[in-house]
Structure formats: C-alpha cells, structure tokens
C-alpha cells in the first residue's frame, strides 16, 4: 500500500485497516446511497398512505396560492368601497364583497399568506423550545431534568387560549406578537414527547460505547441523541402547525388580529361584528372557515402520515 492505486476498494482498505482518501469517499458515497434508498422507501410509504398524499396536495395548492397572490392580484386592504357592501357573487366579484365593499376572493387569497406564515413560524419557535427542554430534561435526568419537567407540567395545566389572549392583549395585537405568543406557549406537549424519546435512546448501548471512548455530553447529544429524536420532532412540528393556524384564526376572530393585515380569522371577525349571518351574506363567512378547515386538515393528514412512517411501532398495527 505504499503507492496509491486507483483500484483500492473499500473492502480491501478496510481489511488492511487503512483508510485512504479514496476509500473514505467511497464509504461516504455508499452511505449516501443507502440513505437515498431508505428515504426512497419512506417516500414510497408516504405515497402508500393516501392521507399523506391528500395532505401534501392540499398544502401544495395553498402554498402556491399564498406565493402567487401578490403576482396575480392588485389588492389593497384599505381600499374601502362602502357603496359595494355585501354584493353577492358575480363574474366581477367571484365570491362577492364584504362589509366595506372589498373583494372576498382577493381577501381569501391574501389571508392564506398570514395563516401559513403564522402557523409555520409559531410552530418553529414552539418546537425549538420544546425540543431543547425535552432533550435537556431527558438527558440530565437528575435535579435539572426533574425541575424542567415540573416547569413543563405547570405550562401544561394552564388553559392555553385564555393565557394567550391575556398576553396578546397586554403586548398589543401585531403579527409578530401573535407568532411569538403562540410559539412561546405551545411547547409543553413537544417537550414531553421529546423527553420520552430521549429517555429510551439514552439507554442504548451505542451511547454507552460513545461515553466509554470519552465522548462528552455535547458530542453525545448532537451526534447520537438528536439524530434519533429529530424525525419525531418533524412529525410533531407538522401537527403543531395545524394547531397554530387554528389558534391564530381564533385570536383574530376574538379581535386580537393585527389590524393592518387580513387573515382568515380577521375576515370572520369582521363578518361576525358586521352581522353577515343575519344579512344572509354567506359568501363572506363560509369561504374563510372552509379554507381554515381544509388547511388544518391538510397539515393533520400529513402529520399523522409522517408519524406512522417515522414511528415503526404504529406501523405494525
């Protein structure tokens, strides 16, 4: 093995106990291939699960609408046209007009941006906090872990919506505040799930082995614990997006929406306070609710499908 030969394979270099550059790359390519194979299998499972496909299609459609809205429509939320209030659907206004004469269809398309943004951003915050607390509580099971879990229990027992309303009312209604309030208050569930998973991973032999060869806590957490927890957190994130979208629309409906942006929830708020129901203006209050329900259903479908794929225990049944 003194001269570098082109045909040094993995098997031979491994036998010789020498890892050449080339062999190293071959090994990396090999593991990449294996990973690709595995994720292919996972994609296959997603395709097999009809729920997952439906969820993906729904979300793809709404993501497209959200991104395309400003390109297709020229819409200004402050363009009031009181003379045109509560016009029924027509070729000019596909879904009629609202209480101040704005086009409901355009509002609906713009509203998708807020719902998706709030949902994704808030669940991102929530999973970061929940994941961090869960990993720490599971890994350091002594006083630190115990303390963190008691802390989580307290947040778990507080009725969430009233707490969010209280803080959002104090902080003032803005898109940023709503994202932060939802994100910062919906992590306890994630923390518990992650902790449970960390507790089982921690007891596996490869952790013991890593410790035996002198790996530190930080190394074990980032290289061994996290890779085993992240798939679970991913499915959890998707389910939390659904809850966050529902929460945002509820807060907006109760009058805590950002007054400067239109969301499906704030549309329903204005429909409610302008008495659209007794005015018979179904085109104003039916579509936003349908959109919320469909998007939430889409994320829930996808989340459950992911859960089934990433959680082998469920697949067996």
């Amino acid at each position: 093995m003194t001269k570098k030969k082109a045909d040094v394979g993995i098997g031979r270099s491994r036998r010789l106990g020498i890892i050449t550059d080339r062999a190293l790359w071959a090994r990396r390519a090999d593991s990449l291939r294996r990973l690709a194979k595995r994720s292919n299998k996972n994609l296959g499972l997603v395709a097999h699960s009809r729920m997952g496909v439906v969820g993906l299609l729904i979300l793809g459609a709404f993501l497209f609408i959200a991104l395309a809205a400003p390109l297709v429509l020229d819409f200004n939320p402050r363009d009031f046209n009181i003379g045109d209030m509560f016009l029924p659907p027509s070729s000019e206004h596909w879904l009629g007009t609202d209480d101040v004469g704005r086009d409901v269809f355009a509002e609906l398309m713009y509203g998708s941006r807020v719902s998706l943004l709030v949902g994704i951003a808030a669940s991102g915050i929530s999973v970061l906090i929940g994941g961090l607390i869960g990993v720490l509580a599971g890994f350091y099971s002594g006083a630190v872990g115990e303390g963190l879990m008691r802390f989580t229990d307290i947040f778990l027992v507080i009725p969430q919506l009233p707490f969010m309303l209280l803080i959002a009312a104090l902080a003032g209604p803005s898109l940023f505040n709503i994202i932060v309030v939802i994100g910062v208050l919906s992590w306890p569930g994630t923390a518990r799930i992650v902790r449970a998973q960390v507790l089982t991973v921690r007891e596996r032999t490869f952790i013991e082995r890593a410790r035996a060869i002198g790996a530190g806590d930080r190394h074990i957490i980032s290289k061994h614990i996290l890779p085993n927890v992240i798939p679970l957190m991913f499915a959890n994130t998707i389910l939390i997006i659904a809850v966050a979208i529902l929460t945002e629309s509820t807060m907006a409906f109760l009058g805590l929406g950002d007054p400067l942006v239109i969301s499906w929830g704030s549309m329903l708020h204005y429909a409610f306070v302008s008495l659209a129901m007794s005015n018979g203006a179904w085109w104003y209050f039916v579509p936003p609710g349908v959109c919320i329900a469909v998007v939430v259903l889409g994320f829930t479908f996808l989340g459950y499908a992911m859960d089934e794929i990433l959680n082998p225990k469920l697949r067996k049944r």
Partner: protein, 321 residues
C-alpha cells in the same frame, strides 16, 4: 403509598402550582410596558399630581416585594381587583358568570364523552373498514373546524328556529320554574351542540387509538381463546381498560374545553366567563381578563386533581408507584 397520602400529595402539588401561576401573573403584568393608571383612567385631563396620587392609592409606589405579598394575599382571599368597565369587584362578576359556563361546558363535555366513547369503540372494533374511515373522517373534520365558525354556521342555518343569543328570553314572566327551565333549554341546545361536536372529534380519536392498543394485549387473545363472545370481550375486558387514559385526557382537555367555551359563548352571547373574557378583551379591561384567567386556571387545576384521584381509584397500579 396509600391512597390518602396520594390524595394529600396531589392537592399540595396543585396548590404549589397555583402559587407559581399567581406569581407568573404578577411578573407578566409588571414586565409589560405601560402605566396601569394611565390605562385604567384614560383621561387626558389628568395632571401628573393626580396620577401620582392614584399610584399611591393603589399601592404602586410600595417596594416590589411588598406589592407581591399584598397581591398574593389578596388573590388567595378572592380579592381580584376592580373591573375597569363595570367598576365592581372582579371576583363578584366572575363567580356570577362561572355557573353559566359550568352548565354549558358540563353538559357538552358529558355528551361529547358519551358519544365520543361509543363511536370510538365502533371505529376501533371495525378498524380499517369503511365504517372506521368514515367515522375517523367525521371526527377529523370536527377537530379541524374552528369552533367559532361552526357556531356562526349554525347561527345562520338555524336562524329563527331557536333563540340565538343569551340564556333566557329577555322580559318574560315565567309561570313557574319548569317554564323557566324549558326556556333555558331552548337557549342552551345550539351552543351545547356546537361545543359537543368539537370535543366529540377528539374523544373519538382518543378512544379509538386507546382501544386499538388494548386489543393488541395478550389477555384479549386469551379471552378469545376462552371462547368469550365479542360483546363480552369488549364490555368486560377491553373497554374498561381502554377507558383509563380517557379519565386523564378528559381533565387535560379541560383547558381546551375552556378555549372552546370562550368561542361558543362569544358567538351565542352566552353570559359565562368566556363571554366575559371576550368583553374584557374588546374593552381592554385587564382586571377582568386576569381574574377570569385565574378562576379558569383554578377550575382546571381542581379538575386535574379530581382526575388523578379518580384514576388512582380505578387503576390500583398507581398506588404502588
């Protein structure tokens, strides 16, 4: 550990948690910017001297630690401050409204639990059949629909058929208590139905997955081998065990129920704590918001303790651990 000690321990823990939540509440209101006096009396004619005088009258000039102890003492003795809009004791207002919320929430929870559990049993027993998928689909739909929107839809659909707001018809002289009761029922039915449907979806999904878990257990196979009929197998062995997690979940769900109650009460103007919170939100009546939040949290805590104790009664394994 014996049962009495377990119960005692649960109550103490719940009390400590309540103290922590009270403290959290104290901190939140003091870290958020803005002068409470200016928010309370939104009057531009107030001179700095007036503000200073009011600050002293409300004890805001005292050291923070003294304020904290006064606040804790007052909160624990039911002194929750004065409402900005009603100019009346928050405790009196909230406790008046609490009964109305309990009527709505209690009725809906019970109904949803009954319907949800029985539907969940059917879905789990006929797992992966068309029946299962349609039941699961229905419950997922009710899980995904915003509660307040379901309320708005039923307001629209049932307009004119049933009264759409309040608890009693205003200005009616009842001929007797039975007459009054029927009026209450007519007002209650739609809001209760909406809240029931929303909770129903979750209970179906929970009961279904819980029962599927139980049906995998070895003792179910043993029961089958013994030649038990499906009916006996379900009724005597599977369902009672599958119900255990439902007890805990029902209590944890209480937070969700309260959230649902805020929405339903707002849509149907049902005069409970939820509507009070909405009114407090619109008027930025912070004492009302804070007081309702504390009372609602206390109710949730009590329900949690009760669920834990019930669980310990039902599942003897808890006592050992």
């Amino acid at each position: 550990m014996n049962l009495r000690r377990y119960v005692f321990q649960r109550i103490v823990t719940a009390f400590v948690i309540f103290l922590v939540i009270l403290t959290l509440n104290f901190i939140i209101f003091r870290t958020i910017p803005g002068d409470p006096i200016k928010t309370m009396f939104q009057d531009p004619r107030m001179t700095p001297q007036d503000i200073q005088q009011l600050r002293e009258a409300f004890g805001l000039e005292k050291p923070l630690l003294t304020q904290y102890f006064i606040y804790m003492y007052n909160s624990l003795t039911g002194e929750l401050g004065i409402s900005f809009t009603y100019r009346d004791s928050v405790w009196d207002i909230v406790s008046d409204r609490l009964v109305n919320t309990l009527i709505l929430v209690g009725g809906a929870s019970l109904l949803a639990l009954l319907l949800g559990v029985s539907t969940g049993i059917v879905a789990a027993w006929r797992r992966n059949s068309l029946t299962d998928f349609s039941l699961l689909g229905t419950s997922l739909f009710f899980y995904s629909v915003p509660t307040f929107w379901l309320g708005m839809l039923s307001l629209f659909a049932l307009a004119g058929l049933v009264p759409s707001s309040g608890m009693y018809t205003p200005g009616v002289d009842y001929e007797g208590p039975l007459d009054k009761f029927f009026d209450l029922m007519r007002h209650l039915i739609v809001p209760m139905m909406v809240l029931t449907l929303v909770l129903f979806g979750q209970y179906v999904m929970l009961m279904r997955s819980s029962l599927i878990d139980v049906l995998q257990e070895d003792y179910i196979t043993t029961g089958k081998a013994k030649g038990l009929s499906n009916r006996d197998l379900l009724r005597r062995h599977a369902v009672p065990n599958a119900m255990l997690p439902m007890v805990t979940v029902t209590a944890i769900n209480l937070g969700l129920v309260v959230g649902g109650a805020i929405q339903t009460e707002t849509v149907f103007s049902w005069p409970g704590v939820g509507l009070l919170m909405y009114e407090g939100l619109i008027a930025r009546d912070y004492p009302i918001l804070q007081g309702s939040f504390l009372v609602v949290t206390l109710v949730a805590l009590v329900a949690n303790v009760l669920a834990d104790i019930t669980y310990a009664f039902l599942d003897p394994r808890v006592k050992v651990g």
